[in-house]
Every structure is written in C-alpha cells, then in structure tokens.
C-alpha cells in the first residue's frame, strides 16, 4: 500500500506550485469545516463518442514502466494503458481486473485466476507467465521497484495453471491483495519486457499492455498521445485518442484550460480554482481524494519527547485557518492522519465511532499552555522544516511557529532548499536537527491501515523511531485480518493509539479537483484516476 511522501512537491520550484495543487482530500459532503466546495460521486455520463480530447499534466512522466509509476503524472497516463490483476473503481472500491477471480484458500495464499482471451496491444495473449514475470520484477533489487514494500511479505510468485498465478506470503497481509489493484499488480507482456530491456516504458522503447488505450506518439518534453486499442477485452473507450500535454507552470495550465486548448486536468491548482469556477469554458468538480497534510515528527529525542508537548502543539495549531489559507477553502481540517475516504470499505458505524474518538479540531490554547507547563517545556526549542517548495509547506511551518510561540515554545524554522526537501522522506541525515516537518501524503489503496502501519517499530517511514509494543501488537493483528469489518474495528483502535501518542500531527484533508471543458464529460472525480482507466469513460458532452 502505498503512501507517498509527495515527491511531486519535492520536485522543485517549477513544480511546486502545482504540487499542492494536485492533491485532495475528501470529507463527505456536509461535514465539518466551512469549505466552499461540494463533493460529487462523478461527472455526468457522456452522450456519445468523441474523436479525441486533450489533458494537462503538471510534468512529463519520466518513464512509464509500472515499477516506477508512483507519482501523479505517470499514473494518470499509465492507468489507461496497463492493467492490474485487480482494479480500483471510481468509487474507490476494488473489483476484479485482469484476474477474473482472486481467492484466498488460506491466510498466506492468494490465487489469481486470469481472464481468458485478453489481448496485449502488440497482439499477444495474456498468460500466467506474463503475470508471474511482471510481478516478480518487483522482487529484483537491481530493478529498484518503487513498490517493493508491498512485496515485503511475499515468499513466492508462481504459475499454477495456464491462467493461474499463486502468491504465497510469509505471513498474512491484508494490504497485499489491495495493492494488486494499483501499479504493484500491473501485468505487461513478458516478451516485450525482456525484448526491450532498459528501454521498457521509456520514450525510446514502449509498452505492451492490455488497457483500453495504447501508447501513441511520445513527443518528448511536450506531449504524449494514447490511441484507442480496438482489441480491448473490456468496454470500448469513448474517445479515439487522448493527448497529454506537459505543463509544469500552473498559470500556463490554467490559461490552456481557459482558452479551451486543453480539455481537462486533475488536481487543479488552488490559485486557479476561482478563475476556472467562474469560467464558461468548462466545469470544475470535486471528489474524494486520499491525501492528507500532516506534520511528521522527525525526532522523539528533543522537545517532542514528552507526549504532552506533542498534544499541546496539536491543540494550539490553527488547522481551520490553514485549511482556508492553503487551499482557498478547498480543504478540511482534520484530527486523523488517514483521510476519511480511506474508510470506504468499512461499515459506516465503525468509522463513525472511530471518528468520534478523535480529539477535536478546535483550537484550545489554554489547555495547550497547561500541558506545556506540566511538561516543563516552556521556552524549549523546536525546529521545524520549511521550504519554498510550495505554499502548503511554508504556510504550515508558519502556523506551527505561531502555535508554538503562543504556548511558550521557542520555534525555529529551518529553510530547506526545494531539491533537498524530498531527501527528508528517505534520508535520516537530512532530518538531523529537525523536530517536525510538513508532510503531504496520499494512499494508493482505500484502507486507513495503509497509513497506520507506518508507525510500527522499524518501519521505513517511522521517522521518529516511535516504538510501542502495544501499538505493534494491534498493528500486527490488523495487518493479518482480511475481513474488512474486523480489520476496521482493529484499525480504529490503532488510530486511537496513534492519536493518543500524537505520533503524527494531522492537519487537513485535500479533495481532488477535476476540470473538463464544454466538449467532454465522464471523468471520475475521485483520486481513482491514478489506477483506474478513467480516460475510457470520457466522451462527448453534447
């Protein structure tokens, strides 16, 4: 399962602006916060086919090999070209994909029965060999798959029939079958991967997959075209082709949308929301995202050692103000690091109970000051990372400084260059001397556990080296539970533990925003577009 430090954001000044932008978060409509947007389940169905449409991306996908597809631009494209064993739906649930059936004869075994007669773009037919070869690539350390963590519990991947693949796990892993719906479960033609070698998925090579669109002309630095694949096994795409245009500059993107030169985009920049909303060039819609912005604890050795200081900071932080300022009202302040939409697969009652247990979002400076006094932390120094990488990062750092100052902490901001900011997510050295850093994070599966596993002892993204035997025990129980209802209950316990210990300071959820020109409609509004062949649903509006 995938969670991600927003590499996009970290990618640099040009990209920044957009970075924030791309995110999203969704709270069910009508819940807390004075957000000026409403979430919709989808956009109106198209009335018919269209010869083609164009779509803006904030960056060129560097490569389209699914092993490295772990960021918005590449996944937005790849979701339409390559398919996985399972499929994420616009409603953020999971259904069969290239596997017509997934079965689980025992907790450590997953058997995938593939669809018969599925054609690759190159003309070959899908077999178990392709699936085994595609999945095993994640296990090869030389290839450095971005999805290797999802395979951490995999013992073996084997062909057990002409159209059957069996995965054996070292221990039960509830997140593994869910990851088979994102890029971790992608199947490409093994023959083409072998034939193309290092060129697989690059502009020089190509892709041989099974999706509703196949890779067309890749005009490096400018655009990439997908053409409808006539041999597709599923529902035929409504558009003959899609042209993706790479527009790193957010105002360049907005201009292109306003003039109708580009038909649509996901992740509209906050600064452009007002212009696009009032424009008659198209329609802006919002849907559930799985993105939250949090403050990550970088070290439990300094001032944040005492849980009372962490709680006090959370109480003192003006989360409502941040949500208004950073996303122009298109965000919701939150008390949980996992977005509410991630609980989709779990019965409503359990989710509601879990959320009732959360501390309030309301600012309470008095209690916060009391906690700081009790902890004897008055005047102590707190170092927070900030970066000119984008307004969400710098605004959040300022909000922490404001909160800390009001409750008697001495908050120091440490400015980190945009290019060095990503290193915070993977390099312990880069985090030295820091107590907190802003952290935007999205889930690639619909499960809150995807975030809470991070705080297990020894996990890579457990940056503060938090370690608590009870937390680890509950986490292990949740991870080993396949039944969503039971897992939901345990995850609720885990969420409460995480919040009681204030291991991570949740700030806001971002919705997903999609813009479509007057010509087209049909794109999903949720963040499902990262792994769902969304472009096949887009057609003519009138």
């Amino acid at each position: 399962m995938a969670k991600i430090p927003r590499r996009a954001a970290a990618a640099g000044a040009l990209l920044l602006a957009l970075a924030l932008v791309l995110t999203a978060c969704g709270t069910p409509a009508g819940s807390r916060g004075a957000a000026d947007y409403r979430l919709s389940a989808g956009t109106p169905r198209p009335k018919g086919e269209i010869s083609g449409f164009s779509w803006a991306l904030y960056a060129e996908p560097p490569v389209l090999d699914y092993l490295y597809a772990f960021d918005y631009p590449q996944n937005t494209v790849l979701a339409n070209v390559c398919e996985s064993l399972m499929r994420w739906t616009p409603g953020l649930t999971t259904e069969p994909g290239l596997a017509r059936k997934a079965s689980n004869p025992d907790p450590k075994t997953w058997v995938y029965d593939l669809r018969a007669g599925v054609k690759f773009h190159g003309g070959g037919e899908l077999t178990a060999d392709d699936a085994v070869y595609s999945l095993r690539r994640h296990l090869d350390p030389k290839l450095g798959s971005y999805w290797n963590e999802d395979f951490a519990n995999v013992a073996s991947i084997d062909k057990t029939g002409p159209l059957q693949v069996t995965v054996r796990l070292k221990r039960p892993d509830a997140l593994f079958p869910q990851a088979m719906a994102n890029s971790a479960g992608t199947v490409a033609s093994s023959r083409s991967i072998k034939a193309q070698g290092r060129k697989f998925g690059t502009a020089d090579g190509g892709l041989d997959c099974t999706g509703p669109f196949e890779l067309g002309r890749w005009n490096r630095g400018q655009s990439l075209r997908l053409d409808r694949f006539d041999g597709y096994w599923g529902r035929r795409a409504k558009a003959g082709h899609v042209t993706f245009t790479f527009l790193p500059d957010s105002s360049a993107r907005t201009n292109a949308l306003l003039t109708g030169e580009v038909d649509g985009t996901f992740g509209v920049p906050p600064e452009s929301l007002a212009r696009l909303r009032s424009s008659d060039s198209g329609t802006l819609s919002f849907g559930e995202g799985l993105t939250t912005v949090n403050l990550n604890v970088a070290s439990l050795k300094g001032t944040l050692k005492d849980v009372r200081v962490r709680r006090a900071l959370l109480l003192a932080l003006d989360r409502e103000g941040f949500a208004r300022a950073a996303m122009r009202g298109s965000a919701t302040p939150t008390s949980a690091p996992a977005p509410r939409a991630a609980w989709r697969g779990i019965p409503r009652g359990i989710t509601d109970r879990a959320y009732r247990q959360l501390p309030t979002v309301k600012r309470d400076l008095e209690t916060a000051r009391k906690l700081i006094r009790q902890a004897g932390a008055e005047g102590k120094k707190l170092t927070v990372a900030t970066s000119p990488i984008g307004p969400d990062v710098s605004l959040l750092a300022l909000a922490v400084q404001d909160a800390g100052t009001r409750i008697g902490l001495n908050v120091e901001l440490k400015t980190i260059a945009p290019d060095a900011f990503t290193a915070l997510f993977s390099d312990a050295k880069a985090r030295e001397g820091l107590d907190l850093f802003p952290y935007t994070y999205y889930l690639s599966i619909t499960d809150p556990l995807g975030i809470y596993t991070n705080f297990r002892t020894g996990q890579f993204e457990n940056y503060a080296h938090f370690s608590d035997p009870e937390y680890d025990r509950v986490e292990a129980r949740a991870s080993a539970t396949y039944d969503p209802v039971k897992r939901g209950r345990i995850t609720a316990q885990l969420q409460k533990l995480a919040l009681d210990k204030a291991i991570c300071l949740p700030v806001a959820e971002y919705p997903n925003a999609v813009f479509q020109s007057r010509r087209i409609t049909g794109a999903p509004t949720t963040v499902s577009y990262l792994y769902y062949p969304w472009a096949a649903d887009v057609g003519a509006r009138g």
């Binding site: 490569v63 772990f70 630095g221 105002s251």
Partner: protein, 316 residues
Amino acid sequence: MLRFLLRRLTELVLTLLAASFLVYGSVFLAPGKPETFLLGGRGANPEALAAIRAQYHLDEPFAVQYAKWLGSALTGDFGQSVQYRSDVLGLVGARLPGTLVLIAMAATLVIVVGLVLGWVGAVRGGALDSAVLVGTSVAVATPSFVAAIVLLAVFSVQLGWFPTLGSGAGPLDMLYHLTLPSIALALPFVGVLARVTRAAMLEQLGREHVAVARSRGIPERTVIRRHVLRNALGTVVTQGGLTLSGLVICTILVESAFGLGGLGEFLARSVTVKDYPVVQAVSLLVVGLFVLVNLVIDLVHPWLDPRVALGTRSAA
C-alpha cells in the same frame, strides 16, 4: 588568423573542461542524493540501494565518477538520464530545436528592434527620443516572466490570437507558436540594446571627426552610416553578445510560462532531482554556446572596424 582561431578553439576546449568539472562538482556537493530519486523516495532495502548505487557508479569516489563520465563523453556517450532512464543525447536532442528557434527569434527581435530604437532616439532626438527613453526603461524593468503573463492574458486568453502553449509542429506553426514567447524573452534585452546603441551613437555624434565630416559637407546620412554607426557598432556588438548569453538563461522562465517543454525547463527540473548526466550535458551546451558567440563577436569585430586587431575587442 589561423593561429588566432587555433588559440580560441583551445580556449573553448579548456573552458568546457573546466565547466564540466565545476558543474559535476557542484551537483555532487549539493544536498540530496540521486539514489533517493531513483528509489522514488520510498523505503529501500540496503540490497536495492547497493544495486542502484553500483549501476550508476554512485558508490565510487568523485574523481573516479568524473573521470568515467569524461571518458564516455569524449566518445560521444553522455550517459543515461537518471530520471528518464534513457540516453541523454536523445533527450537533449528532442528539446533542442524549440529552444534554439526561440532564442534565434528573440535575438533577431533584440537586434532589429534594439538597433532601430537606439538609432532613432539618437539621431532624431526630441519627443521621439524621450519616447524611446521611456519605452526602453519600461522594457528593461519588465522581466520576461512578467511580460509572459501579460502577453498571455491579453493576446491568448482575452483576444485568442495566439496559442497559450506548445512550440508547434512544422516551421510556420512553430513561428506562430513562438511569437509571444520570443517577444516576452526579447523585451528586456531590446530595452538594454536600444539604450546602449543610443548612448554609443550619441557619443560618436559628439566626436570631432563627425563635426569635421559635417563641415566638409558630407551628407548627413553618410556621416551617420560611415562615421557614427560604424564606430558605435563595436560597443553594440559586444553588448549584443552578452544579450545572447542572457537570452539562453532566460529561456527557462519563458519556456515554463508558455509550456514549451524546452531545454531551459528541462535543465531546471534535472537540477532539482540531481540528474547529473542531463545537468552536465545541458550546461556544457550552454557554456559552449557562450564561448562560440564570443568567438563570433571577436571575428566580426575587426571586420566591422579595421582598426581593431583580431582578438582585442576594444571599441575605438
């Protein structure tokens, strides 16, 4: 002449060598590691990390890495881009034409419009000169990215005369697509060149030889052309060379505002993710361009003004 060229070419090679070393060193010393990017910022087991480091020679000392890069570069192999996982030459080659055409169009605008404005201001004087002064002050003070925003808002979004993005397909379409970007790029430089031209011509106009020429009854047009312009050109050409170098740098901002996907934008992104091979190749290209432009100026100079010896560049 031949010896001069030989000397300058040796200088060019040495400059490129020094630049490559400096760029390589600075990327090496900058914070962050390319393997972080290669692993997608995600948790990597030590085995994967070691494999990646070995694959890209990241585990070797700086001197060895640089020597390896230099060795391959000399054979024309500029390596593989870390982020795109493909050949650097192909990646650079795909983005080069758009950027070169953009620079060429902007340079043409700068030279033609800058010279004409400077000339008119200096020769005509009066209200026209004041207008040139005000206009060029505004132009000089308008950075390309601001000009880009204004031009886009007016001519693309409002009036719909020009496209807002892309560099077009085919020569004519390319000229059309690059019109606004080249104006935005050229604007501040037009201002600078016009002012330099004006000042240089005014200086010449006040010189004794001009007064003498006029007193001899030589027609004013000939005086301006033979005595004023010719002598002023030295300064103007030198300034023009500097301008061209500046244009190269400014393409970064203009390319991103107009979504052109050119080399400047490519360089900026490559720096942020520490894509060594790309940064090296693009930097060397830019440095090479600088040096070549300077070489051309030095060659043109004595031809414009025979009093200047080859390679000295002092304006008479």
